[in-house]
Symmetry: C3
Subunit: 155 residues, 3 copies
């Protein structure tokens, strides 16, 4: 089966939000040979605002997971803005999923699945699932989730 992420997005009725603007001295995406590096990306909503709050306190697991899905949409928007399309991507390689969580919260992987499920939906099991860490940190602007990733491009 051949995956077409643009088509799949359309089938799912998903419209990507505007690509986030950098809030510091970095590039949203950077290509080195066939590797695509992506900056830590926040959970942008369609209106351009960010989902904030700690998972385990102001947000519950499902709200955290929804925030991770918004990170995926924002990241896809950054990629599409850079290349003009998503079909340049061969596969996801690596995800660092950072959850703004309380010390007692234990379900960081379930939160980050909100990101990983969408990527797997668009690129399939072989190419849409990579290696991953899902952990808890303190995040800028009190955003709920931040994710950085590395993708491989088609050659």
């Amino acid at each position: 089966m051949k995956y077409d992420p643009e088509l799949r997005l359309k089938e799912l009725g998903i419209i990507l939000p505007a690509a986030p603007k950098p809030v510091g001295l970095y590039k949203p995406v950077l290509v080195i040979d066939k590797m695509l590096y992506i900056s830590g990306t926040g959970p942008f909503k369609a209106d351009g605002t960010l989902i904030t709050g700690r998972v385990g306190a102001e947000l519950d697991l499902e709200e955290g997971k929804a925030a991770a899905r918004q990170v995926a949409l924002a990241m896809l928007s950054s990629i599409k803005t850079h290349f003009g399309e998503l079909n340049k991507i061969k596969r996801i390689v690596k995800t660092l999923g950072m959850v703004n969580s309380t010390p007692g919260f234990e379900k960081h992987p379930a939160v980050i699945n909100g990101f990983s499920e969408l990527i797997a939906e668009l690129w399939g099991e072989e190419y849409g699932i990579g290696v991953r860490s899902a952990v808890g940190m303190m995040l800028p602007s009190n955003i709920a989730v931040e994710i950085e990733a590395v993708f491989e491009l088609k050659s």
Copy 2:
């Protein structure tokens, strides 16, 4: 001197635990050309359970270091399960050592040495030591240590 990690494990009397199963949407290991990427791996014991607790509170430095060593064993088991052997590995490139620590704890590098010492023991000083960060985070399931790594494969 030529290092043989399989032989060295046998000499040390170490039996690897079963390879951990993913608890989210990720692959334990992924190969891109000659680089081997490893997902964040927890401190699995021989019985398949995880070492939990914060270093600096429920666990002391030595217990944290022992947990980091268990991460190394679990990671080696993931690698061996993927390739059927450890000898495909040329060297460790990069380690991100994440310690579930109290805010006042200061010895994250000494904890992560429990991982790094075993890798150095198996592959030697030149190939068994790479770049590293050793820091404190909040970890899923309250595990004591989680480590992600990148290795280079023999070509």
Copy 3:
């Protein structure tokens, strides 16, 4: 415009501190083909001591940013010690900026700009700015900032 980081350092009147010695089982820098991997590096001052304290408590934003700049100087010193010069570097690829912050602190990107501004000053906008995450963690020895990075070398 051609950037010469050695010359620019001289113009800025910056003298690099001594390269930090590893405090665990890791190498400060490691080259794999044309990629230069750098270990998590702390904010070393000219006298060899480290800037400590949490940003948002003992340190304010400007002090945190100054600490991130010291990390850049220490990292440049590690690179120069390894290669004998800085001109082997083509570009910065990736920065993981880790701030020792209070839970309520929200300006991690502004802190890490202290690092990124110096790198951009030395290599320019195209090659001196890469992808980045800037987040809050607990750091060893209570250091204020720790940064790991990947650079690309000239071929």
